[in-house]
């Protein structure tokens, strides 16, 4: 198993004919993801590499029965695209778009509450269940199918972590990039809960960063509800306070936003802390060895 995406995922691409949308549609498809429809207003009735394109998500849903959507729509229109997909009843929306205004996200997230739709992102690389399905923009070949879940606020740092795991022969059940914005649809806690319930996932690698309190909330959940080991790294020890480090959400304001306080909270909750970003794979390997010894003995 895996979480959120697998062989049964039927993907809709919103913004399929744009530059990024078309590039990544092809990559996802090459990986084996079933891409069943695309939406670009004004291009309904045409096709993209044989994939039917519709004017609206509602039409695409009626005709092609997608159960997930990935969004490559430019920032000024992305919130509207999320709402359109949610209104059409799509249960999983992955929004890659970076730069959506916060005020728009407040409305979107409010609309999604209780709607039965899960949003991953925005400003994220998407997710991949290695060997099964890719709904995102990550390089596919660094992944290996296995039993470690990966959840992260970052993009390329996730690739770095995954690559370290794969190099050591440690495969992944699903890798989820939850996004670097201050307001996101799927939190660390949501992801951890899904991994905890997934029988195939043995352990989870969590990669946090400065800003906000998402890591502290994750720590609370780990303490109270996780039976599986969590390996945690928080990036940004060297980041100065008050400066936004690339991601809209990566800014230290107040003591809870620092890497140190986040790591301390995760350590106190029983997570195995990775001190150096070069050691994410090694620490995970040790945790898995200890886990297997425990089970063996």
């Amino acid at each position: 198993m895996s979480i959120l995406v697998n062989k049964d995922t039927r993907l809709l691409v919103q913004g399929i004919t744009g530059n990024e949308g078309s590039f990544h549609t092809r990559r996802c498809r090459e990986y084996g993801t079933q891409v069943v429809a695309g939406v670009t207003p004004g291009k309904g009735g045409s096709d993209f590499d044989g994939i039917p394109v519709f004017n609206t998500v509602a039409e695409a849903v009626r005709a092609a029965k997608p159960n997930a959507s990935i969004i490559f729509v430019p920032a000024p229109f992305a919130a509207d695209a999320i709402l359109e997909a949610a209104d059409a009843g799509i249960p999983l929306i992955v929004c890659i778009t970076d730069g959506i205004p916060t005020r728009d996200m407040v409305i979107v997230l409010h609309f999604l509450k209780g709607s039965g739709t899960r949003l991953v992102g925005p400003n994220c690389p998407g997710l991949i269940s290695p060997g099964k399905c890719k709904v995102g923009i990550m390089p596919a070949d660094i992944h290996l199918s296995g039993s470690v879940g990966v959840i992260s606020r970052s993009g390329t740092l996730t690739y770095e972590a995954v690559s370290q795991l794969t190099t050591l022969g440690i495969g992944q059940s699903t890798c989820v990039g939850i996004g670097g914005d201050p307001l996101i649809g799927t939190s660390f806690v949501d992801g951890l809960r899904l991994f905890e319930a997934d029988p195939e996932t043995q352990a989870v690698v969590l990669i946090g960063e400065i800003g906000g309190t998402a890591e502290q909330e994750a720590a609370e959940f780990i303490q109270e509800s996780m039976s599986k080991p969590v390996i945690a790294f928080v990036v940004g020890k060297a980041a100065p306070p008050g400066r936004r480090m690339g991601h809209a959400g990566a800014i230290i304001s107040g003591s809870s936003g620092t890497a140190r306080s986040k790591m301390a909270a995760l350590a106190a909750a029983g997570a195995s802390i990775v001190e150096s970003p070069a050691d994410i794979g090694l620490v995970t390997q040790k945790v898995l060895q200890a886990l297997n010894n425990q089970r063996g003995g």
């Binding site: 959506i100 409305i107 309190t213 480090m245």
Partner: protein
């Protein structure tokens, strides 16, 4: 994007939030004239993007136009150092001259987005004039929080709840509720990520006045807040940061001496952490982005080599959407007509890595290749130390 105090106050006044009468001036004679016009007894405040102005000597109460002029002469065109600036301080180019107000109480009011609850929150406290963080840690019971439902917006009863919670007098309740409503309308209309009135003063004559105001506009919304975007003060920016901003490259100047160019914000921070863990300091944060062209990489790389503080450079690229050969081509482009005088360590992995390495290896650049993140940090710090000897 943060507005200057005087800009924030103009905006607040337009939404019915009372602020002291004030005049902005850039020359000391103008400051004296403003003081004269306002009656002589005024507050003169440096307009810079840095907190801690009061303690740093950037705010002064004066009693005559002459005194205002003397203070302005001392401050304008000089650098102001506060607890939040670096030792080099920030240049003072404008002063705000305001009525000096007799204050009875100092309150705190702000509107921001609560990240966990994913909605706006109005924060108020009777302990104004201090950093709210300090109040929150010392006397958390003195902080009021009112969460705003995104679907219905701010309601009158919530304004009253805050006004009563601040123990205002009966005559001030309606005044306060209206002011609080104004703050909400301003934030909604202009995509404010923060509106902070600290202190919000109760004056001797029973009025409520925002004595200091901080307004930040969501950078992601600047495309639809053009009038406010035009107010951006590039004069306060580091020149290299301003240049990077125009390229759309995420760059932050830091105090260290190892320049780094990385793709992705998380990996860029991880690279900085690695450098620090090795006992050295990064000269910058630089995320070249995912969809970079050789031209963009070249421009970003030029920013690094034009920084005199840089003693060694680390390029760390995990190719995904961004191909390693694009990065290599960009670096070669940047160094075509500018000799690079510092050691260069390159760690590349992912898409088209062989081609990227080949391009750099066949060039005349002094490149050292690294195999992984740890190796890269060790090599760049060693190269820097060798340079120093």
């Amino acid at each position: 994007m943060r507005l200057h105090e005087y800009q924030a106050k103009e905006l607040l006044a337009a939404y019915g939030v009372a602020v002291p009468r004030g005049i902005v001036a850039a020359m000391s004679q103008e400051v004296a004239d403003a003081a004269d016009y306002l009656g002589g007894h005024v507050v003169v405040k440096a307009q810079v993007h840095a907190g801690g102005r009061g303690k740093g000597g950037g705010i002064k109460i004066v009693f005559s136009p002459q005194e205002a002029k003397e203070y302005a002469d001392h401050l304008l065109g000089r650098s102001l150092v506060t607890s939040q600036t670096g030792p080099e301080g920030v240049l003072v180019r404008r002063l705000l001259v305001e009525d000096a107000v007799a204050v009875v109480r100092e309150l705190y009011l702000s509107l921001l987005i609560d990240r966990s609850r994913q909605r706006p929150v109005m924060v108020a406290s009777e302990a104004g004039g201090m950093e709210i963080e300090e109040v929150a840690s010392r006397t958390p019971e003195k902080i009021l929080r009112v969460y705003i439902d995104p679907a219905v917006g701010f309601q009158s009863f919530q304004g009253r709840a805050i006004a009563y919670g601040l123990n205002l007098e009966a005559a001030q309740i309606r005044l306060a509720a209206e002011l609080i409503g104004g703050v909400y309308k301003l934030a909604q209309s202009h995509d404010c990520s923060l509106v902070e009135l600290n202190p919000l003063a109760v004056t001797a004559d029973g009025k409520l006045l925002a004595l200091d105001a901080k307004v930040e506009i969501d950078d992601n919304a600047l495309y639809r807040q053009r009038e406010l975007a035009a107010l951006k003060d590039h004069g306060d920016e580091d020149p290299l940061e301003a240049e990077a901003g125009q390229l759309g490259v995420s760059y932050i100047k830091l105090d260290g001496s190892i320049g780094c160019m990385v793709n992705g914000a998380g990996l860029a921070m991880a690279t900085m952490d690695m450098i620090q863990a090795m006992g050295a300091q990064p000269a910058n944060f630089l995320d070249v982005g995912g969809v970079a062209s050789p031209e963009r990489v070249a421009k970003a790389f030029r920013i690094l080599i034009s920084d005199p503080a840089v003693e060694a450079i680390l390029v760390n690229v995990f190719g995904g959407i961004l191909r390693c050969d694009i990065v290599a081509t960009g670096i070669l482009e940047a160094t075509k007509d500018a000799e690079i005088k510092v050691p260069l360590v390159v760690r590349m992995q992912g898409t088209n890595v062989e081609e990227g390495r080949r391009l750099l290896a066949e060039s005349s650049l002094p490149v050292t290749f690294a195999n992984d993140l740890g190796d890269a940090a060790i090599k760049v710090v060693a190269a820097q130390r060798e340079m120093r000897h």
